[in-house]
Amino acid sequence: MSNYLDGNAAAGALSELFAVDLTAAIAQCNGCGHTTVFAESRVYVDAPGTVARCAGCDTVLLRVVTTPNDTYLDLRGLTYLRVPNS
């Protein structure tokens, strides 16, 4: 599947869940250890939700799915997110 956007496309969905901008955060992939700014990940918005995959190994880093009542956030593919202290 080559129809992906980048981490910037997930900025809005993530802004509902986090107080800081995550697209500029440094993210480490739990699959291959690839460490880069989250904006460089591959984001798919065709799914019923938003899925971000590692640009290095395609591991699912993060998923956000919003239903009428709740939002599901799955962060299993991330070892860590590093954000600067403000």
């Binding site: 080559s2 129809n3 992906y4 956007l5 980048d6 981490g7 910037n8 496309a9 900025a11 809005g12 802004s15 509902e16 901008d21 697209t23 500029a24 700014v37 989250f38 904006a39 460089e40 918005v45 065709d46």
Partner: protein
């Protein structure tokens, strides 16, 4: 951050398929050049679709509540045909933003700026050019790839900016060039060598366009010796995405 309702203050046709929507957003907190916002449409049956669009305007000042989006119509798209063909002055539009903190240019940023856009990928770059015109002192170059002369978004605006000493604008035509322009073709290594700032210039490069365009250009830049950490990218695909 939650959704809020903006009002369409004006619309401007930019090309056959792209138009600029001027939005009045009460209590707009301001934005950085390169940020975007999400637009959400809700159908009568409750079905919702949202897409992210780059903000085309620089933020003028703390009293301003006006922002601009430029939307290119995606054939078969869920959101863009409505924004380009149906939405009219006075209509409400649900938005969320500004969002995104990576693909941004800040006036205090050091070093020259290289902007490379493909098609409607010029939209966030235009916001950067506008912000730079107000507050920037470093050199800026824009390399803008379009299919044909009629596809150029912001023609008069770019001409005006190009007239300033600080900005260098180079158009690249991939299908059909205007009279007097012999080159027709995509951005390649030679063109990067000839028109882009060099790695030793210490430039930060912003590349925005369709995913294959961005991948190609980013690879060319890295192959030419540019530090990948100074090449910032924003991709969009046929489903919508930042533009």
């Amino acid at each position: 951050m939650s959704w809020q309702v903006a009002t369409v203050a004006d619309v401007r046709q930019e090309t056959e398929t792209a138009r600029t929507i001027v939005l009045d957003v009460p209590d707009w907190p301001g934005h950085l050049a390169g940020q975007h916002l999400d637009v959400r449409l809700t159908a009568e049956d409750g079905y919702r679709a949202s897409r992210s669009y780059s903000i085309a305007s620089a933020w003028a000042n703390s009293h301003s509540s006006t922002i601009e989006l430029t939307v290119e119509q995606v054939p078969g798209g869920e959101v863009s045909p409505y924004l380009v063909e149906v939405l009219k002055v006075g209509d409400p539009l649900e938005i969320r933003g500004p969002v995104g903190g990576w693909f941004v240019w800040k006036p205090e940023q050091e070093g020259p700026v290289q902007l490379i856009g493909g098609g409607s990928g010029v939209v966030p770059l235009r916001a950067m050019l506008r912000a730079h015109a107000v507050a920037g002192t470093t050199p800026v170059r824009l390399l803008y790839s379009v299919r044909r002369p009629e596809s150029v978004i912001y023609v008069s605006d770019l001409k005006e900016l190009a007239a300033s000493d600080a900005v260098d604008v180079r158009l690249v035509y991939t299908r059909e060039a205007p009279a007097g322009e012999p080159r027709v073709g995509r951005i390649d290594a030679d063109l990067i060598e000839q028109y882009a700032l060099k790695p030793e210039d210490g430039a930060t490069t912003y590349v925005c366009g369709p995913t294959p365009f961005v991948e190609t250009v980013a690879n060319l830049l890295v192959a030419a010796g540019h530090d990948p950490a100074r090449v910032r990218t924003e991709r969009f695909g046929p489903t919508g995405g930042p533009r």
